[in-house]
Subunit: 225 residues, 2 copies
């Protein structure tokens, strides 16, 4: 029995990762994009991403590409692989399969500059992005869909916020991800009924009445799935 090797019938493909990294800013869901410096789709905006290196795990490649291409220094609060895009014609350079990842960053004000082969990096409204390279509009659509599902059955919304936050701030995350307004009373009732929040006892002064601050309840299921 000889050395094992890839059988001749195995299609060789290029293996890539792309990352849809989201954050909230001023009540808006934002996505981090880079401007491509190379062909194909040079000067178009795209999700950060690139080829997986030999010996590198998929999530390691996703973190490396996010850091290198956007220079973002924040650690993602959540990173998950959500879908693999493998349509044969999705890239004009040949068959390139992209394992798409979803990331949540703590806030969308952090300064980014383009790194690697990019011309720049910036935050854009996730529901109204510019024209995107390759099939990245479809990847972004599906990433937003996954984010919306995660609001439903995991408390991923908390990952967008600081440790202590007000109910209106939490409502803003839901509205930003869902891209629609919610009724304040119903939201309050539903979210408190889930038992994932604990009143911190502190209050934050604002324009009107000082608002109660909440934290994640001890033992509440985290978004890690």
């Amino acid at each position: 029995m000889g050395t094992l090797s890839l059988p001749p019938q195995a299609t060789r493909v290029g293996l890539a990762v792309d990352v849809a990294a989201f954050a909230m800013h001023a009540g808006e869901l934002r996505v981090l994009l880079v401007q491509r410096g190379e062909l194909p789709h040079a000067r178009d905006w795209a999700l950060p991403g690139g080829f997986v290196q030999p010996g590198e795990a998929l999530h390691e490649a996703a973190l490396r590409e996010l850091r290198t291409e956007t220079t973002v220094e924040l650690e993602p609060r959540h990173l998950e692989q959500f879908y693999t895009f493998g349509e044969p014609s999705r890239d004009p350079r040949g068959r390139i399969v992209s394992v798409a990842h979803l990331a949540v960053l703590p806030h969308g004000t952090v300064r980014v500059t383009g790194g690697g082969h990019t011309l720049g990096a910036d935050w854009f409204p996730a529901h109204h992005p510019p024209r995107l390279a390759f099939d990245h509009a479809a990847i972004l659509d599906r990433a937003i869909g996954r984010l919306q599902l995660r609001l439903e059955y995991a408390n991923l919304a908390l990952e967008f916020l600081p440790d202590a936050f007000t109910l209106p701030e939490l409502q803003t995350v839901y509205e930003g991800v869902l891209d629609r307004s919610l009724d304040k009373r119903n939201f309050r009732k539903r979210i408190l009924a889930q038992g994932i929040l604990a009143a911190s006892g502190e209050r934050r002064s604002g324009v009107g009445r000082p608002a109660q601050l909440y934290r994640r309840a001890k033992g509440a299921r985290t978004a890690a799935l």
Copy 2:
């Protein structure tokens, strides 16, 4: 500008699909496995799967491998890609990335025989499988986890049943997928409250009282996600 081609830094990998195909039989969740006829892991049981062909979409490859390797003639009631396994050392032949798919078949009594390069195909208890090749035990675990999530927020359970079914039959699917018993009264109450079932008006005679038959309610969200 020359012809575009895969850049030299792109890692070339073998692209494969694997399919965890489930069905219910005698109150038990079963998974369809094939016995490998080739190295590596010859004679071990494995999920049906293999290399994607040039020009073939991922879900097409999943359906083709399922049919070819198991000779199953039923159409899956549900097919979804659920995770991509890309650990560098998962296959001794080289870097092979597997896009794993989850399928639900109408019932687990259908006769299967091995096709392609397999030595055979058969149904096994999904929660108590034999020793599996490669990282297929991890793939099966994650497939069962996804199936359990799908019970929670999509009515995938109905895909395991004929068009008309009794509540005890539906409870059996939940118990089979979750691998634990459920309280009959609570189950009845919770499932009817979801509004996904409609009483068909017919009854099926059994050992005791004739049982009410249910169908999917019109307009109920289907499992397609």
